[in-house]
Symmetry: C2
Subunit: 360 residues, 2 copies
DNA sequence: GGCAGATGCGCAAACGTTCGCGCAACATAG
DNA sequence: CTATGTTGCGCGAACGTTTGCGCATCTGCC
């Protein structure tokens, strides 16, 4: 017969003459159960408020848990229940502050919901397979993707493993839900604003290929102005970055007066900033010579040096919606994919040369 | 004798007349062990390259793992070994792009090291206790903090649980290591650059209280210019944000000509941007009327409209160092705390009015 | 006094790894 | 041909939860 040295180690029915207090371990459900004189399962249920446990017992155990500073081990829960409480996040390039805002908002909202964010990938590069494996290894319950690019491999993994995916600021793909701003409507609103002031010749600083968001905005704008009888806007590729907007502004500035547009719509604020700075360099005044409008509603758009008219994406609502969609699908994986688009707020500032009021 | 239909499901001797093919599960070590005809422990060891397992067996198991698409369950590993592979991240405000750059760099570098980033907190607000609990629940192996503020509660938890902490861009606190840019040296470099051009009257757009980084930069600059016999610079509080820099520029612009400084050092680029925009609004030309220099080396500092002289923090090296320090302490918790400061690169651009070359 | 149904809780088997021992089998030395 | 190592691998417990059953005890009813 062996004597045991570490009592913490043998928590199932053991004698107790052993006590060199070897580095007190964290309290576990077992600790609590012994302390409370009930079974571990009872503690587990009591802590989640299972009504099968009497209110008194629940209260007592709750007490005890607080006293002993009990914190559940997520890994044990994950292992046993298959639910990790982790949301995998794929986030776009650091060059566009919108993603930063989005991430911060997501972090803020996720915590109170008992979700934690595990960063799977950040930036514009491709997603390595080894990175995508984190999805499986950590058994993420769901996945939030905001990248402009197509994280196809990740999507595939999620689909194959029944991990719900919600795209934010991006159109849904196969096996994913999505929440976006109403890009078509927002862009049309911007177009109308410009049309109302009599602007008739437009340019769009768009973005190349793969961004669904950019395409929608472009389309919404173009449709609106052509319906109003204007010519199809000149199109410039701003590559979704500041520098692209800047360069396109220089190109626009170099246009012969006859072809020069009266207003420029940059499909994202970050490009609009570049456009504004480019125009300023060339001595083109905004909004007198040319109006400029953007889309996203970045905080920086409010800076006096930009004072940019834009459509503000309802970030808080979008994130909130995305998380609840995820939550719903985690609870009920059979829920069909869903796409919601939320209307942003038109924020009229100096750059559009319109009377400045906020409207919906 | 029973035939098995779904070997994945009942890997411990069980009968099998039950199985409406219940959704093939992921391969586990047990699956592999049966398939390979060895014990689970052997598989475990083989997969980590334990030399006690013969090379042939290792190869065979490696093969098999690939074939069956085996991916380890992190939660099981965590539970058993106490090591999660997770690094908790506390990140500062979204208003300063530096933190975004830092985060992206960390994500990039962490993955190849087998570390994943769990976001504990983002933004400038206080850290809620419930949030800090994630550190324990998910058993993070280490913690990376970049916030300007003092995440005291988190530090306490980490210290109490032996979780190593590395501060980045922040001075070490009790029970933490740190890696920073050499703020004193960098600021002094900037000061010398300005002095060399004969500037003698200075202002510093500093930051309030709690930022060790800001304080060091301020001190480095002030010491250098006062040693050179200049008066102590005027001090303005830019609150570490763009708007603060902007407002301070307006104040500086409003100064009587006799008191107006010949150069302004904003202790972070984001404030320098505000300063530059403020000066432009007031018609003050940079660098002719006033020189402006910043610190951080944000990508935006290179924009033509700013063209800001600054000290570029060696982000890649800093993150790399931070992660390896963390890794070392995860392996050997007894390692003493350590502080390393890395020298940044002075990047001379137009805003300082100096001949433009890069120097170390 | 016997029975049906609540009510409140316990038992024990998972979940997938890791790791300390220990045990064969084979080789080498004495 | 017995001691003594190696080499290569298996046993089984432990990590902390969750969860499907099932079993007492109690209440109320006929």
């Amino acid at each position: 017969m062996q004597t045991r040295v570490h009592s913490e180690l043998c928590y199932r029915g053991c004698m107790d003459e052993l006590p060199p207090p070897p580095a007190a371990r964290r309290a576990t459900i077992i600790t609590l159960s012994r302390e409370a004189g009930v079974a571990p399962s009872t503690v587990s249920r009591a802590l989640k408020g299972d009504t099968r446990i009497s209110p008194e017992t629940r209260a007592r155990i709750g007490q005890l848990a607080k006293q002993l500073g009990y914190t559940p081990h997520a890994s044990a829960r994950t292992l046993s229940s298959g639910r990790s409480g982790l949301i995998g996040v794929v986030i776009g390039s650091s060059a566009n502050p919108f993603y930063t805002e989005l991430l911060h908002e997501a972090v803020r909202q996720a915590a109170p919901l008992g979700m934690r964010l595990l960063i799977i990938h950040a930036g514009s590069g491709p997603i390595e397979n080894s990175t995508a494996d984190a999805l499986l290894q950590y058994q993420v319950d769901g996945c939030l993707m905001t990248s402009v690019e197509l994280p196809s491999h990740v999507s595939a993994i999620c689909a194959a493993n029944g991990v719900p995916v919600v795209m934010v600021n991006r159109v849904a793909r196969l096996n994913s839900s999505a929440v976006t701003c109403d890009n078509l409507f927002g862009a049309a609103q911007l177009a109308r604003l410009l049309l109302e002031q009599g602007r008739r010749r437009f340019a769009v600083v768009r973005t190349s290929a793969s961004s669904s968001t950019g395409q929608e905005r472009e389309r919404g704008f173009v449709e609106q102005v052509t319906e109003a009888g204007c010519e199809c806007p000149l199109l410039f590729d701003g590559r979704s970055i500041y520098e692209g907007g800047y360069e396109m502004a220089l190109q626009i500035a170099a246009l012969p007066a006859a072809r020069r547009p009266e207003a420029v719509f940059a499909v994202s604020d970050i490009m609009a900033f570049g456009v504004l700075d480019g125009f300023r360099l060339r001595g083109i005044s905004v909004p007198q010579d040319i109006a400029v409008v953007g889309f996203d509603g970045l905080p920086a758009a409010a800076r006096p040096c930009y004072d940019l008219t834009t459509v503000e994406q309802p970030l808080e609502a979008m994130v909130s919606r995305a998380l609840s969609m995820l939550q719903a699908r985690i609870g009920r994986p059979s829920l069909p994919d869903e796409t919601v688009s939320l209307r942003g707020a038109l924020i009229v500032r100096r750059s559009s040369g319109a009377p400045q009021l906020r409207s919906k």
